[in-house]
């Protein structure tokens, strides 16, 4: 996020493959996830129930979908704070289309196109004008949500067609929701994209050293533009899901999601300075955040208190390896 690259964090596994496989970030996250799962199942008798576990997935699938694209963006050294505002704008546009009598396929298309368009707008501002993404997206965040507020005021759009409800409320098989299936498919697609293609390699290269990447023939601007488009696209898809799940559009929809998505990405082991991270980590972090909020919800802990746990989890999980290294006299 700074123009002069700070010293980058190079992943440990480059140096010590075997030891780092055991002490890797993902392993730490698995331990945390299992621990929270165990605590949850002891704390509440309602937790270990297929239907209740299926409800759990709704806590993270929508944000998780955005988190995949955001992970790539943050690995490349940029950030997008406008994702929640894109959701609001796309949802508002879908609401307008509903008032005009649009059917489900048109609504989905509108959600996706608006998301993509907003992402492209961010991408153009960042890459064409060479602006820092954190401020550009603070601006577009106000702009996109502002437009939603101008159109909607204090109203709400309702009257979505019943077939539209499938995306946010439907089940593909027994307790497996459409949202969860989409989340898992996206996880595989993004894993492949980041870890198995030359595009993914370029993303890491840009995050580690944009100047060196440029000189090695990577089109830094174009790659970043694609990443902003992807983040916008995922926000558009998430907007379809959320609007469908809630069955209504308000300008305040998805307020504060941007910080939760970033928390998910950072918790997943993606370095906020760019250059390091994995999709598996983001998937695990999404599960953990779902487990924490759902488990606390079953215990009737209010949402605002849950956020304490998410915040503490974020800081503790990030601090743990650092403290661990210090204690072992690493530095």
């Amino acid at each position: 996020m700074t123009d002069i690259p700070a010293p980058r964090h190079i992943p440990d596994r480059l140096d010590k493959p075997l030891r780092s496989a055991i002490f890797s970030w993902e392993a730490l996250l698995v331990v945390v996830a299992v621990a929270i799962f165990a605590i949850n199942s002891f704390a509440s008798p309602y937790f270990l129930d297929p239907y209740s576990l299926s409800d759990l997935t709704f806590n993270f699938t929508e944000k998780g979908l955005i988190a995949f694209a955001m992970a790539l963006l943050i690995i490349s050294g940029e950030i997008d704070l406008s994702v929640a505002a894109i959701i609001a704008l796309a949802s508002t546009m879908m609401g307008m289309a509903v008032q005009a009598g649009a059917g489900t396929p048109v609504l989905v298309l509108i959600g996706i196109v608006v998301g993509l368009g907003c992402g492209a707008f961010n991408g153009l501002l960042v890459t064409r004008l060479g602006l820092p993404s954190i401020v550009v997206t603070i601006g577009t965040m106000s702009l996109f949500r502002g437009i939603a507020f101008i159109i909607l005021g204090d109203q709400a759009y309702k009257g979505y067609p019943s077939s539209f409800a499938f995306f946010g409320q439907g089940y593909v098989w027994w307790v497996v929701s459409f949202e969860l299936v989409l989340f898992l498919i996206a996880a595989v697609v993004y894993w492949f994209l980041l870890h198995r293609t030359s595009f993914g390699r370029r993303v890491f290269a840009i995050g580690n050293n944009p100047v060196a990447a440029q000189f090695s023939g990577v089109r830094v601007g174009r790659t970043k533009f694609i990443l902003f488009c992807l983040t916008g696209l995922m926000s558009g898809i998430a907007s379809v899901l959320i609007t469908s799940r809630l069955g209504s559009t308000r300008p305040s929809i998805a307020q504060g999601y941007e910080l939760e998505v970033i928390t998910m990405v950072v918790l997943g082991g993606v370095s906020i300075l760019g250059g390091a991270g994995s999709i598996l980590g983001v998937v695990l972090a999404a599960f953990i955040m779902g487990l924490v909020t759902f488990g606390l919800g079953l215990l009737n802990v209010p949402g605002i208190v849950m956020s304490i746990f998410i915040g503490l989890l974020l800081i503790i999980v990030i601090a743990l390896p650092i403290v661990w290294r210090r204690l072992r006299g690493g530095r």
């Binding site: 123009d3 300075l273 601090a319």
Partner: protein
């Protein structure tokens, strides 16, 4: 060269004058000195917060937890006031500063001692501090009728025809001006932002300076907590929700580079004033307040575009005065 340094502030000032001029074509009384004094007073809290955020951003860090800090500290002083109305207001302000300082020091320690990027630390403490407000208050509100008349009246009292709130803002602006232009700490803050590595070689303790910077922004958050609660006379968990981005927006409009090292007290103040004028003028000239977000969003983008131009031309040198001397 020196005239060039003031370039950004002069342009921002001109933009504000033009803005006021445009508004007064629709509503002449807006440019009235009495009304402008009112706008200044309305914007005081944002200006104070923007200055606190400025010192953090100058060191290439960011403090996303300021609004949550404000919310928590505001709740602490409001509850103290409701429980013990006898506590004098100056003591409450000292308490607010101290509570804010502690919250800021937690951020600072995590950034300094554990080397966690500030955006991650304050993303965490943003939710923790607001959640802590809920735990502290049990979700209850503190209303105007529970606050003592002194608590509400203190910042509204006029001194030389100007409310105390405005005086506090002027005092804070003055303090920050001295800090940034006349002290070694201010110089270190700029130096770290311009080049952290060179700062280390120049003998600046980068980690400790960042810690101090977070302590400053914490104290500012705490002070604003009291000011906010006594101004809007309600303390709840929702206070200033999402306001952290308004504070950063004021800094960005004021020409403070998010990449660190560039920015001035005047810029931060003018950036906040710009946002304050927009929010004050919209209802007056019969534009729906729902337009406010879109307008300030466009203003931010425009400001960033202009800033980026300026930065590219000027390079990243800020201590020109020193250069000129040597």
């Amino acid at each position: 060269m020196k005239a060039f340094l003031k370039y950004r502030e002069i342009w921002l000032f001109a933009a504000i004058v033009v803005l006021i001029g445009l508004i007064s074509t629709r509503f002449p009384a807006f440019a009235d000195p009495g009304n402008l004094r009112q706008v200044f007073n309305d914007t005081s809290i944002l200006m104070i917060l923007a200055l606190g955020q400025m010192v953090v951003i100058l060191t290439r860090s960011i403090d996303l937890s300021m609004a949550s800090n404000l919310c928590f500290t505001g709740m602490v002083v409001a509850m103290l006031n409701a429980a013990h109305p006898a506590i004098p207001i100056p003591l409450l302000i000292v308490i607010a500063l101290a509570v804010g300082l502690v919250l800021g020091a937690i951020n600072g320690l995590l950034v300094w001692r554990l080397n966690i990027p500030s955006i991650v630390v304050t993303l965490g403490t943003l939710t923790i501090y607001r959640g802590a407000t809920f735990v502290l208050s049990g979700g209850a509100w503190v209303n105007a009728d529970k606050m003592s008349p002194d608590f509400i009246g203190f910042q509204r009292a006029a001194f030389l025809g100007i409310p105390v709130l405005s005086w506090i803002a002027i005092l804070v602006i003055g303090l920050f001006f001295v800090l940034m232009t006349r002290t070694a700490l201010g110089r270190s803050i700029y130096a770290i932002g311009v080049n952290p590595t060179a700062s280390v070689y120049a003998g600046i303790d980068v980690g400790r300076t960042k810690f101090i910077v977070f302590c400053i922004s914490g104290m500012i958050g705490g002070l604003s907590g009291y000011l906010w609660i006594s101004r809007y006379v309600i303390a709840s968990v929702e206070v200033a929700n999402g306001y952290e981005l308004n504070i950063i927006a004021a800094c960005v409009i004021g020409g403070i580079s998010i990449a660190g090292g560039i920015g001035s007290v005047g810029g931060a103040v003018l950036g906040a004033l710009f946002l304050g004028i927009i929010s004050n003028a919209l209802p007056v000239i019969n534009i729906s307040p729902f337009w406010q977000m879109a307008i300030s969003g466009s203003a931010i983008i425009l400001a960033v575009v202009l800033n980026a131009r300026g930065e590219r031309q000027q390079g990243r040198i800020i201590l020109r005065k020193v250069e000129a001397v040597t």
